[in-house]
């Protein structure tokens, strides 16, 4: 079948015309009964408008270079003829990118690169960005967080007049030695773990287990000095800036995509975060030694505390080698044994006199 009646749309108006299409040697001619030849198109310039109606529905053809022109072929036999004669009739056209879209693609690539760079570089700019945050904001925020954790978490906050006074004196002494512009607040909560932490703004919390398990005051003082190290370097705020930067970037980038993609990205980011935590711990250790030395307090307590911690960990895992690469990589703290070894011993006083130490030991009673 070489010709058939088809519907023709000229791309200029929506009026469809019934016309005769005739297959010539290498072209398709379209005749109107009254007007004669309307157009002749090379066969290879004919393409299907979409991929879907080729298989099912009328064959809808467009013409390369003539946007909006359509030939709709309902006749089954003629449609088969066209599909075999015109090489592109069965597939949608390959559309080259318009220049405007090409330019925008380049800008888009730049933006995607900027996104990736901002994401990857979060650890590097977190420091400078943190420096921009006024200390007063940090203190205000830290106070709220500290209140939230210590009181609202349902832990008993331990207080006694003598104990608080002893902690204040210690904090003042360390702050003076460190040259800090404010005096960190040290709080004791009633929890059996041998640990301590600090939130932004220098709000330090000691767990009562730390005090109970310490054999002498210089151990507790050493740990407090370590938390001072975090406070001075604003580690928790830096960490917060990093985490927020990543979550903002991820939120903007992933937009309406799947939750799973988001979770994978965040898991990756938090694994990476571990490395920076370890660096922060090492930094806090160094600063702690420095503060203690300048305050004239012995660093032996800090060293002894790490030593005891390393022993406990060794007993738990049944090995005394704490520095296997895998545990080192996945832990937030550097291997405790390494930290123990890295603390140099300087002589000095205990940091607390006997009455102060007694007051702190009984602060939770």
């Amino acid at each position: 079948m070489r010709s058939a009646t088809v519907r023709y749309l000229d791309g200029k108006s929506a009026a469809a015309r019934a016309v005769t299409a005739e297959l010539e040697l290498s072209r398709l001619a379209v005749y109107d009964d009254g007007d004669g030849v309307l157009s002749r198109w090379p066969l290879d310039s004919l393409h299907s408008v979409d991929r879907w109606t080729v298989a099912r529905g009328p064959l809808r053809l467009g013409v390369r270079g003539e946007p909006g022109v359509r030939l709709i072929v309902e006749d089954h036999a003629f449609r088969q003829t066209l599909l075999s004669a015109a090489p592109n009739a069965g597939r949608p056209p390959k559309r080259p990118l318009p220049p405007a879209l090409k330019r925008l693609s380049i800008m888009g690539a730049a933006m995607a690169a900027a996104f990736t760079a901002l994401f990857v570089a979060a650890p590097w700019y977190a420091g400078p960005v943190t420096e921009l945050i006024p200390l007063s904001w940090e203190r205000q925020f830290g106070e709220q967080v500290s209140d939230l954790i210590n009181t609202n978490a349902g832990w008993g906050v331990c207080e006694s007049e003598a104990g608080n006074a002893a902690l204040d004196r210690l904090s003042n002494r360390l702050a003076a030695s460190a040259g800090l512009s404010y005096v960190p607040t040290v709080t004791v909560v009633s929890l059996p773990q041998n640990n301590a932490f600090v939130v932004p703004g220098g709000y330090i919390t000691l767990l009562s287990g730390l005090i109970e398990q310490s054999t002498s005051p210089d151990e507790v003082v050493g740990v407090v000095a370590h938390e001072f190290g975090h406070a001075i370097e604003r580690h928790s705020l830096k960490r917060l800036v990093r985490a927020n930067a990543r979550s903002v970037l991820l939120g903007a980038m992933l937009g309406g995509s799947t939750l799973i993609a988001r979770q994978i990205a965040e898991a990756g980011a938090s694994l990476w975060e571990l490395q920076y935590s370890r660096e922060a711990e090492e930094e806090a250790d160094r600063i702690a030694v420095d503060i203690l030395r300048r305050a004239g307090i012995t660093t032996a307590g800090l060293k002894r505390w790490f030593g005891r911690l390393a022993e406990e960990e060794g007993a738990e895992t049944g090995t005394d080698d704490q520095s296997t690469p895998a545990t080192n990589y996945f832990s937030t703290h550097p291997s405790t044994l390494a930290r123990f070894q890295d603390v140099p011993v300087y002589a000095g006083d205990q940091g607390l006199d006997d009455s102060e130490w007694q007051a702190i030991r009984t602060i939770c009673d």
Binding site: A15, A16, D50, W52, G68, G108, F141, A252, G255, A265
Partner: protein
């Protein structure tokens, strides 16, 4: 099937059905392909996935014997999203984070922050909806003629926010007014080639029905709203005109309600993965109920050069809106 002629004669209005030819099997294949590629690309394929589905749905929609065509590109949607992500979402997200972290927790500050958040959110939703509609229309052809939208998203967006707020404070009683205003704005700024759409609906025609629906909603967990909505859809359809045609969308409240409930169920059960099937259901639902009243003056519809958006709407993606 009718072939348009240049000289339509005055006679009783003909009614032509709008037809959708979509098939579940074909949608399912596209769905599987899109799902696989989305997983492989951590969701970044979604722009191309959406484009592919639109190509399909448009090509299966038929009016006066002619299929619709969609010629948007996934790249346009992707770039549109990327620019919005960088220029709008990133600064907003960063500001929000700083405020959420450091702002005082006292009540007055918190209330102010919620107000600002509310305004920003609904403003952006309004702007995104309008821009996304403009993009979809600009990538749509029918009988070779391009559709497009004019108007300004910076009028539509603020009005959307204002009218939404009005609905809240009037316990819903502003709904007919709000919906009519927005529908009028959208329709009046829509073109099929040289032909502008017009809309002559008035909110007051809907208030009787709305009052009954509102009272009904009190006792039906809100489902009484469909009693009103079914009427609104029909009314908006018959009040929309272009080149001598208007539309008819007759649906019972019960049918509309059942359709909507099942859609919700599909989305909930499939965790939104079943969205393409909801789209198909919607297309078929429309096909079942929509018809065109009158015969258009086809030759009056002329192709005109229009200022078309180069990129797709990125905000809409951020809000996870698609819309047909």
């Amino acid at each position: 099937m009718s072939i348009g002629t240049a000289a339509p004669q005055p006679r009783p209005a003909t009614v032509t059905p709008y037809v959708h030819h979509g098939a579940v099997g074909e949608v399912f294949l596209i769905f599987l392909r899109n799902l696989a590629l989305n997983i492989l690309t951590f969701g970044f394929y979604r722009f191309w996935a959406r484009t592919r589905l639109r190509h399909y749905f448009w090509s299966q929609s038929e009016m006066f014997g002619d299929r619709f065509e969609y010629d948007g590109r996934g790249l346009e949607l992707f770039l549109g999203f990327l620019f919005i992500a960088f220029i709008v979402l990133l600064p907003i997200g960063a500001t929000y984070n700083v405020i959420a972290t450091f702002a005082s927790t006292d009540e007055v500050t918190q209330i102010w922050l919620s107000v600002v958040g509310y305004i920003g959110f609904f403003l952006l939703i309004g702007i995104a909806t309008y821009r996304a509609r403009g993009y979809r229309l600009s990538r749509t052809r029918w009988r070779g003629i391009r559709l497009f939208q004019v108007g300004n998203e910076f009028v539509y967006g603020p009005m959307f926010l204002l009218l939404f707020t009005l609905q809240l404070v009037t316990l819903g009683w502003a709904t007919p007014f709000a919906n009519t205003w927005l529908e009028r704005y959208r329709i009046k700024h829509t073109y099929l080639g040289s032909e502008r759409f017009s809309f002559d609906g008035r909110a007051r025609d809907l208030y009787g029905r709305f009052a009954v629906g509102w009272l009904l909603a009190l006792f039906t967990f809100g489902l009484g709203y469909f009693f009103y909505k079914a009427r609104e859809i029909a009314y908006f359809a018959e009040r929309t005109h272009v080149v001598g045609i208007s539309f008819r969308f007759q649906v019972s409240a019960l049918r509309l309600c059942g359709f909507w409930l099942l859609n919700m169920l599909i989305l909930i059960v499939t965790l939104s993965l079943g969205y393409p099937f909801v789209q198909l259901r919607t297309a078929r639902f429309v096909s079942e109920h929509l018809s065109i009243v009158g015969e258009p003056g086809f030759s009056a519809i002329q192709q005109v050069p229009a200022d078309l958006p180069v990129l797709g709407e990125g905000l809409a993606d951020a809000f996870d809106m698609d819309g047909m």
